[in-house]
Symmetry: C2
Subunit: 215 residues, 2 copies
């Protein structure tokens, strides 16, 4: 594993992920994210009226489902245009599962972003789930491929090394850079760090492919 | 990578993950999950009244936050008792990020579960995000360590090999088993398969540790 990414890199480059709006679907998704976290904070022993909450949430889901296009039509719409995706589970302002992480492209060819994760992302007590770290890194390596000098591709092999526990409720820096490309093979590395110390390292081999877009 | 896990193994063993209830916080979380998916299905171009939806969701979040204990107190409660966790982002009935996956322990020492993933888990068009596959596998390898003959531990190194695209909207089988333990080192492997074909393989090295529990 190269020490190829400076975890202290400032996140002051070009924003490579979708910029959330303060209204419309982005505002509704931000509120949904707040509900997801609040449900975990309240838990099963709280005095909140959970059956009433369930009823109100199901009514909202019914309203949204009534106004949703069919899945095939929606997939075409999701992938139309040339901009960055707005729906992925790491950076997407339209996806309440995404924390969301915002990733910036830096002049040295690397990418970096910061995020603070709460209870929905917990693995060991008070720590980020190792699989969530893998999710953040796999995605950020992909963003680095789009920003870096070489081609993009799909993940072939991803190796994660967990160096220390990754804390919840503290600012994390997620960084990545493409280190080589030979033929259709692309190698990209990245880290998650907290307080200047590397918590997780990722080393990815990506394969250049033409991805079919739904039409 | 061993062909150590039979992707066709029946999921008819002992349930190792939390059994969701039909009321209380579990019902509210199931409804929140439905909202998260419906927001993605509706998208920014739908006729749904998104600012109204945002207002209704924020009101629900406020009600829940008013009835939530402090985070330190909640962490103690989350980790109290001897049962399986109810809050993790893969299997937790109290976590709307979790699909959720239910994992069963089989008599041969392996574990297995099935899940069908929708739009919130999308990476490439119509496919499961590679990082989501990593999240499911990291967690399921951990469940296999708890079910298998050896000790449990925290992930040290996790290697994922992506063999073919993992489809959305189709039943996936997630399986894992502990293959060895030597001293504090535990090796555990797993797969995600669809239609009997392996999509992703995972090979994990875990380190046996005593995890401090919040008190």
């Amino acid at each position: 594993m190269d020490a190829a990414v400076d975890p202290g890199a400032a996140t002051t480059g070009e924003m490579l992920t979708a910029d959330p709006a303060n209204d419309g679907v982005d505002a509704a998704v931000a509120a949904a994210r707040r509900v997801v976290a609040a449900l975990l904070h309240a838990g099963g022993n709280s005095a909140a009226e959970m059956n009433d909450v369930a009823g109100r949430l199901n009514a909202i889901a019914e309203h949204l489902e009534e106004h949703a296009p069919g899945t095939d039509e929606r997939l075409v719409d999701m992938w139309a245009g040339e901009g960055v995706a707005r729906h992925d589970p790491v950076t997407g302002p339209e996806n309440a599962i995404a924390p969301p992480l915002h990733v910036y492209g830096l002049p040295d060819g690397s990418v970096s972003g910061t995020v603070t994760l709460g209870l929905p992302y917990q693995g060991p007590p008070g720590c980020v789930h190792g699989g969530v770290s893998a999710l953040l890194l796999d995605h950020t390596l992909g963003v680095a491929n789009a920003w870096g000098p070489g081609p993009s591709g799909m993940t072939g092999t991803l190796t994660l090394r967990y160096r220390r526990r990754t804390p919840l409720f503290e600012e994390l820096t997620v960084s990545a850079r493409q280190v080589s490309h030979t033929g259709r093979k692309i190698r990209t590395v990245g880290t998650i760090s907290a307080g200047g110390e590397v918590c997780v390292e990722a080393d990815g081999l990506f394969i250049e492919v033409d991805l079919p877009v739904p039409r």
